[in-house]
Subunit: 450 residues, 2 copies
């Protein structure tokens, strides 16, 4: 909360303590819906119960429409209200938000609230609640304005005037035929600037982009972003219009998807915040312990070379240098591959792989030469420098290639490539790097020592 | 490009080859602006020059308004057109997009194009071009609708009808006083549903959220997302309204900022795609080579313990296990801290640090015990297991703390905390882990062996 809002909250509390309905309403209703919901979340249960008597359900609907964040909190509030109040509140809210709240409830609770709704409203909610998470159906709302292509501008304008208060967005007016099939779209701008007697069919744009109700949310977000829409219509398999997805929900999708990618790269869910360190630890440990086993594999591999190590103990000095650098290179190529797979649908996979092979060779050779010189000068031993440099070059090449091949392979298997995390790739590259390093060392040292 | 669009492109090329102006126009103008710009980018210079004779500058303005992506490409196109054509094209485009293109040009080129614009248009562009990148000023456009609070709904509606075609967005009508100061806002919905003789001052919302022209784009994006706006007004230091930022530009900002965070976590720019492996390598090498020096520091540290290593060569087996696992824990806590700092403006820093300290202890102890048991059983040596386990626990604790302290420190210094990358934290933790491991090993082994 901003400081200004913090002060308003204190002032609102004062009006609640004084039971001053009028002053509370004047101040609270001057706030934006989002601010109302921020302040509302700070009140305790006694204060909230007072608010239910101060505000009409229609007024409180704004607060609930703009919360979105936490449907569990919202259903807690619902339980505090008298049932007729809830009925009017849910009836006033946008259907997509009602669905978000009800979807989190137990079936018994959900039935209780559905029974409160008017028949048509309950049906809309029931229709929406069955769509799978992260699809168009789960994001869309049914409060849109649709006219038929036979109407005139004047009659459409009349209809918009009547329906404007209920619609979530009136920027686009959708045109359907008598079967309910989406045939066109016009903007409220067209409505305002054209003459009353002009026909909708003559003005509408017929090339209208719509998404299928089962379409994945990430694809939809990309379309809305590319086309600069503020809403996109949703149709079912029969091309009938069933809803719209508004840009505010698209922004939430974009945020959600990028937070997901970020979390996966880090190997931890960065978004769910807990103030309990045991819970925090519990979220991070599974990946760490899983990778510990992979790390133990690397340890057994080094163990296998213990004879070599005890003979040439200087080799141990460069283990972490090689594994660390190769891991860094692998993380880089992993991130690039994940992003390119996510943003480019028609990517030529072979080109990506070939490019990474070439990049890996260049990076490996340059880094290897640097290491050769550094180690050679430091230890006054060009052979040792050469061994470490050659191992470094090969380890980087392998890690770099693995970093792009793993997400590509996952994509081919139909797994979201972002599950390949930075920690995974760097732990895996520890294994390959050690394998490469000791084999090269053994080979060269045998050659020169014997 | 989708397959459908690919086919349309082929059809359009056929009409161009036949010099069939009418057919080209019919097909091309049926496309959405974004599609037009996608197709347009595929044509060669001869085809483009033909298009300039087929389309009016006003029609081509759509293509340019929806490209956005690449101002350098756009200025290449401008150079191909006759100057009077450019003049009309730039005059028709939204000011923010003209600014994006002109900002990338040399001063001489820019002056040439500015001279083509009408006086008032050129002034608007000049005003906008001086705003710093990533601020409200650089994102806003000046094509918005503003009425005064003295007007009636009817007269405002008249004005909207006249200005609708030029405005980038008519969802919000802004209300200014005679000084140009922003005093209110109403929606086109209000305009449509209220009576013609009602006064704007009676209907408008006076609590209007605006951003300062120098405000950072990330903060603005958060506000627009939280408040579910489709546009936000921009005011200067004197509270005068100077422009609006539309939600499509906000989405680009959100994409840009999250790509930036992702790139930084990976230690590589994942967005700039090059098909030349030398260029790709050049982008990744600086971080790798920088971290190589940090890695060499770790190597010299291990070198310092060479005596211990040659005596107890079994110690080398667990170097990569400890450095790897601590690095993974550090990456996790880094990502969590970066995200929490980015999304939570009023965060209590001490609480975050204390939480990470506690989490680090829990994760360290649990992982340490696992390692103790695993190594103890494997090597049939509980002392060795204890040394490795204790080193693991301490190394994880330190890496975990560093992962959150480094971004917090950077935030305090005013540096964007996302510059702390995963590769950096894991390379740094290699150093601390090795330091901890060998010190613990030396201490215990001296104690028991002597």
């Amino acid at each position: 909360m901003t400081e200004e809002l913090e002060q308003i909250k204190v002032a609102l509390e004062a009006t609640l303590n004084k039971r001053s309905r009028k002053k509370f309403r004047r101040l609270f209703l001057s706030l934006h819906g989002y601010e109302q919901s921020q302040v509302f979340a700070e009140f305790d249960v006694m204060q909230r119960k007072l608010i239910y008597t101060f505000l009409t359900p229609e007024e409180l609907a704004n607060v609930f429409d703009d919360t979105e964040e936490d449907p569990v909190e919202a259903s807690k509030y619902l339980a505090e209200m008298p049932l007729p109040y809830v009925a009017r509140l849910l009836g006033e809210m946008y259907t997509d938000n009602v669905v978000d709240i009800l979807a989190e409830m137990s079936p018994i609770q959900r039935r209780k609230y559905l029974n409160l709704l008017r028949g048509d409203e309950a049906k809309q909610v029931r229709d929406l609640i069955h769509y799978e998470d992260e699809t168009a159906g789960s994001l869309m709302t049914t409060e849109y304005i649709a006219v038929t292509d036979q109407q005139t501008i004047g009659s459409a304008m009349q209809q918009v005037k009547q329906e404007a208060q209920d619609a979530e967005l009136i920027t686009y007016i959708y045109v359907i035929d008598d079967q309910g099939i989406l045939v066109g779209v016009l903007s409220v701008r067209d409505l305002i600037t054209h003459q009353d007697d002009e026909k909708i069919a003559d003005i509408m744009i017929t090339r209208v982009l719509a998404v299928d109700v089962n379409e994945d949310q990430e694809t939809i977000a990309e379309q809305v972003r590319d086309y600069n829409f503020v809403a996109i219509p949703v149709v079912n398999a029969a091309e009938k219009m069933v809803g719209i997805i508004t840009v505010d929900d698209i922004i939430d999708v974009i945020d959600e998807e990028s937070a997901e990618d970020y979390s996966r790269l880090a190997g931890v869910d960065t978004e769910s915040i807990s103030h309990n360190p045991f819970q925090t630890a519990l979220k991070r440990l599974p990946w760490l312990i899983t990778l510990l086993f992979l790390g133990m594999l690397t340890a057994t591999l080094i163990n296998h070379f213990e004879g070599l190590l005890s003979e040439v103990s200087v080799l141990a000095i460069f283990i972490s240098l090689i594994t660390g650098t190769a891991g860094n290179a692998g993380t880089q190529s992993l991130a690039v591959a994940v992003r390119r797979l996510a943003t480019n649908n028609h990517l030529k996979i072979w080109r990506l792989i070939l490019n990474e092979v070439a990049t890996g060779i260049i990076i490996g050779v340059i880094t290897g030469i640097c290491v050769w010189i550094m180690v050679g000068l430091w230890k006054q031993n060009l052979l040792l420098g050469g061994v470490v440099g050659a191992a470094m070059a090969s380890a980087i090449f392998v890690a770099n290639l693995a970093g792009s091949l793993i997400p590509i392979g996952m994509e081919k298997l139909g797994v979201d490539p972002a599950v390949a995390s930075g920690p995974f790739i760097s732990t895996l590259s520890d294994l390959t790097s050690v394998l490469i390093y000791f084999n090269i060392a053994q080979y060269f040292l045998q050659m020169f020592v014997n």
